[in-house]
Amino acid sequence: MNSLERVAATLRFAKADRTPVIPQVFAHAAVRAGVPIVDYLHDGALLAHCQIEARREYGYDAVFAFMDTALEAEAMGCRLEFPEGQYPDVTACALSPDTPIGELAPPDPRRDGRLPELLRATGLLRSELDGEAPVVAVVLGPMSLAGQLMGTETALYLAVDEPERFEELLDLTTEVARRHGQALLSAGAQVAVVFEPAASPVVVPAAFFRELLAPRIAALFAAYKAAGALATWLHVAGDVTPILPYYERTGADIVNLDYEVDPDEAGRILPHACLDGNVRSLAFVLDVADEVAAEGRRLVARLAGRGGFILSSGCEIPPEARPENIAALVSAVRGRS
């Protein structure tokens, strides 16, 4: 089986030759290649090259078409700063608390900011890996994009103080995610991730997710499926146990679990979803390789039997991660069916 066949079988809960392993390697691919992160985040061809080389070296089962969580916000008018060796920060928001939401329009993925470069990267990844490994595109979720456009704190207060205006903002950011995701799928992505860290129960109550975010994420996933996505993937950071019962209604095929979530409990709540996770991200920086490998083997032993399981990190692998720790995670699935 190649990586694409392995992931496709796992999504169907069918037997695969081994458990797929997809560590969330984003800008670490640049660091590994000795490429400045700022260049990786501006050059689609360079991003594709680094992603392909990282997969070749580590031997995992997918590549990621993803730049950073400020990508969409920048294309909508936020100003960014790119600190050396790090992802960009938003230094000036596109929306002030008083700006009418209607003044902001969804960006054109083929024209605005760095979005065209990400489309270019996606096309290059697909043409290089077509039929061999899935190209996974990452789109920022409606709540997280709202936070980037306005500042998370301001957006959260807006949700309480002016709920109608906040919903107008969420409708805008959902439309941005729909257009951006569909463009990435058209460019060659096969799997679409909605990355929604700000929807975490650590940030907002579970009812907030159920009422305001789950329906919008469901609409996004339906649009991605209509655009030909092989799978949809929901990634919310932190302990998501309180909102797992609402995941089914989003239609997510793959559910990311951060390190704090009990994967057995998640499996009971979501018997038909493919689970993905959940080695602690910081372990790739601070722990030794043997510990990461042992944790990976423990997860595979616990979850491979259910069928729908992809071994991964609970969240992004930090750019400065130890390469031997990523290799150790990949080694955990070798020799097991």
């Binding site: 060796g85 704190e153 650590v202 390190y259 602690r280 910081l282 930090p318």
Partner: protein, 209 residues
């Protein structure tokens, strides 16, 4: 006082301010409004917010209401003689995220601490300077990014160079809370704002005993 506490817990800033003004007009001293109103409200929210059931939005709303009331009574901040203890807080250099730090600041102010908030992207020297200047009992750092870990590890030796070995070091935030105190070379790693505040309460109480 019950009405003040209830409106604070509901996160209703306007109603809390009205209740506090009513108490003040009736002759209740500022210190009692803070200790019996604000601190009681924060303690009740603390009891409700466990590591398993904690979300920033609810705490932000209570924190905002507490801050609005506290600012009216103490526009320049809680005076040192009324504060439970002084602490310095900041996001380390390289991290411009400050939501978590702001929540901790609100919680601690609500509990009667005098908090010197240095903001985000703070160099080690600026944090240590503030500890020395403010005679702080503790230095708190919050980090969303793993890349700040080397700077967090520099805090202990930087404090020691100024003879501030008695100052407690507390770390928290999405990235730092995945680490152990030993890995970060701090005294404690907090899982939530209230978790950190409880630890701080215990430290301050021990030192006063």
């Amino acid at each position: 006082m019950r009405q003040l506490i209830r409106t604070l817990i509901e996160g209703d800033s306007d109603a809390a301010l009205t209740a506090a003004r009513r108490l003040r007009a009736a002759g209740v001293p500022d210190e009692r409004i803070v200790s019996e109103g604000l601190e009681s409200a924060m303690e009740q929210v603390d009891a409700k917010c466990t590591v398993e059931a904690f979300n920033l939005l609810e705490v932000m709303l209570v924190g905002r209401a507490v801050t609005v009331v506290a600012s009216e009574h103490y526009p320049s901040g809680v005076p040192r003689e009324h504060g439970r203890a002084t602490v310095v807080i900041g996001s380390p250099e390289g991290d411009v995220h400050d939501l978590g730090k702001n929540i901790v600041t609100m919680v601690l102010r609500g509990k009667g601490y005098r908090v010197c908030d240095l903001g985000r992207n703070c160099p080690v020297d600026a944090l240590v300077d503030a500890v020395e200047r403010e005679h702080a009992a503790a230095l708190l750092v919050s980090g969303l990014l793993t890349t700040v870990i080397p700077r967090v590890r520099r805090l202990r030796p930087a404090l020691a160079e100024r003879g501030l070995t008695h100052v407690k070091l507390l770390a928290g935030g999405a990235a730092l809370r995945q680490a152990t105190p030993e890995q970060l070379e701090v005294d404690q790693v907090a899982q939530t704002a209230f978790d950190g505040a409880r630890w701080l309460d215990a430290v301050v109480a021990r030192e006063r005993a």
